[in-house]
Amino acid sequence: KTYRIGISNGFVGSEWRTQMLDGIREVVEEYKKAGTNVELVIQSADVDVQGQIQQIRNLINAKVDGIIINPNSQTGLNQVIREATDAGIKVVVVDQEVSAPTAVNVAIDQRAWAKDKMDWLAKALGGKGNVVVINGIDGHPANEAREAGIADSLKNYPNIKVLNTANGDWDHAKAQQVLSSILASQPNIDGIFTQDGMGQGVLRALIAAKPRKMPVVSGEAYVGYMKLWSEIKKSYPDFRSYGLANPPGVGASGLRVVMNLIQGKQLKDGVLKGPYNNTIYVPIPARVDDSTLAKTLADLLAKKKADTYTMDGYLTQAQANAYFK
């Protein structure tokens, strides 16, 4: 039997999304080698919520067995997801969590992810200092979860003072400009927390500002970021940074989960967590810090990864099976 898996990707054009689709294709090949035929039906374009609803309806009409969605809204797709599951289609939502009760979300725990990063930053500052936070887009679920994670962490570090929180819209240019403005009027910044997709803008703003002492930056796990990071280390040897992967491989992990669901396996009790109790939190696969920077970067460059490549990883079949009875 050939399994047909629909993919609804509501935004294209970032390396992250391309990596996500590549990961899914890799796992498809893996299934094929193991004798399970999987056919992908990809709907991938820059669309709004209505457009994505249409994409998913097309997949329902194409009578796929399962659908993997990277959603454009946390709540806007609930109705169409219900249509899909009513039609007997298994729906897995990756990267971000949706509230639809009949879907299974496969994502990293964004809140824990942000707490991990802020914890690292606080420790690197010895538990005290002035910090600037550059967030993504207000009102966006991942952003809200991450803000909560930051707050979780800061509860344990009362001497860390957040001087300013600004939004960089997950856009390097915006982040660079926003931070430039802050740097110009705030001379005493010890640390900077940034979400991913903005780290390079943050570093360039720092480079341009030429501070006497570089703040500690909790950054991102992109090749381009690591390049800049090692660059800065040349002139500021005690510059410290940290990158935590937000893996595009959640797509591939999602494929394994949806395949298991299609094959009739049942999730173990207690696997589903999260605000809507419908999320499988997959482990964060990779991180990089000052001690591992040189080697990590060398490895990635040896694989000819572009600046826009981010550190990645996805569930193995065994790991995926472990969620199921």
């Binding site: 990707n9 709004d48 209505q50 249409q54 309806r57 946390q74 709540t75 806007g76 207000d138 679920p141």
Partner: protein, 322 residues
């Protein structure tokens, strides 16, 4: 034959053709599209844009444009969600009060836009761009992150059928209201103000009040759109409306309404909104039917939309040279 000819002479002829084209191609690629359930579901998805496009049409007819309708939709939607509260059945007061409050907020936001344009005489494009920040900011303040709940009565309400799906009734109601409106003095004032504000002024029409009314009506229609959207997705999202703004302008233009005001109507915009979605869908379907790389979809999409927008002009070029 004469009926056909008269139809083709209408400003919305093009939207109609595109719509039929979209339906035919969809029927070829995806017969399942026309099962009553899918069809009804799709119409419900289209309804918010249809309402926004109708609202945009009213503003455009009066010589303006409103780039904040998407933000108003969001604001109105999150206000409703917050008013409903979290219980699945909050009782009639909160349910209907919430809807009324959302509609009121939409209307007020539209009226503020109208005030800026009509009384402060700010240039519409840029003034409504500015107010879109205000409505968007307020929406974030009302509902900082997606969530909330919509009473089940309302969710069920937008899914009912009385022989035909609810959304069709909604559209029919709007068309009837429009037909009545066209016979009124306000309609003449609206078209006159859009066509030649100076002439309207010297004819004793209150240009300011007409413009204000147009914007407020657009706000109300957008509030209705917010209601349908909210009831459909059954929860709130403070970023949901944004992309609908420019789509509403595209729908209006495809529908044959003149962007500089004074000529056109909502029939075209309704057809235009549906045609807009159908065309996008046809492109999406072709991409996977012909195994094109998904990267092409955005390009083809964009090209199709440009051609649809160009079509009235091309048609005019052809018509003018006999």
């Amino acid at each position: 034959m004469t009926l056909l000819r008269r139809l083709l002479a209408q400003p919305y002829a093009l939207a109609l053709i595109l719509l039929i084209l979209g339906l035919v191609v969809t029927a070829l690629f995806q017969p399942a599209f026309f099962t009553p359930r899918t069809f009804a579901n799709n119409l419900r998805t289209y309804l918010p844009l249809i309402l926004l496009a109708v609202g945009q049409t009213v503003v455009v007819l009066g010589g303006g444009i409103d780039l904040s309708l998407g933000a108003i939709l969001t604001l109105s939607s999150v206000v409703m969600v917050q008013a409903f509260g979290l219980e699945p059945d909050p009782g009639p007061l909160r349910t209907f009060g919430g809807v009324a409050l959302g509609l009121l907020v939409g209307t007020l936001a539209g009226a503020v836009n109208g005030f800026c344009v009509a009384y402060l005489r700010l240039q519409p494009i840029i003034a409504t761009f500015a107010t879109s920040f205000i409505w968007g900011g307020l929406a974030l303040w009302v509902l900082p992150q997606p969530g909330g709940n919509v009473p089940t009565v309302l969710q069920d309400f937008v899914r009912v059928y009385f022989l035909v799906p609810f959304s069709l009734w909604a559209v029919l109601t709007i068309l009837l209201a429009w037909a009545w409106f066209l016979g009124t003095r306000w309609a003449r004032a609206l078209y006159a103000v859009g066509g030649n504000p100076q002439a309207a002024f010297t004819s004793g029409i209150s240009v300011e009040r007409t413009r204000l009314g147009a914007y407020a009506a657009a706000g109300l229609l957008t509030g209705l759109g917010a209601f349908f959207l909210t009831a459909d997705i059954a929860t709130g999202d403070p970023l949901i409306g944004g992309p609908l703004t420019l789509a509403s302008v595209v729908a209006v233009v495809i529908g044959g309404t003149r962007l500089s005001g004074g000529a056109g109507g909502i029939v075209g915009s309704i057809l235009g909104a549906v045609a807009y979605y159908l065309l996008k869908n046809v492109v999406a379907l072709s991409v996977f039917n012909f195994n094109l790389s998904p990267q092409w979809q955005t390009l083809i999409d964009g090209t199709v939309i440009v051609l649809a927008l160009a079509a009235p002009g091309l048609l005019r070029l052809v018509r003018r040279q006999p």
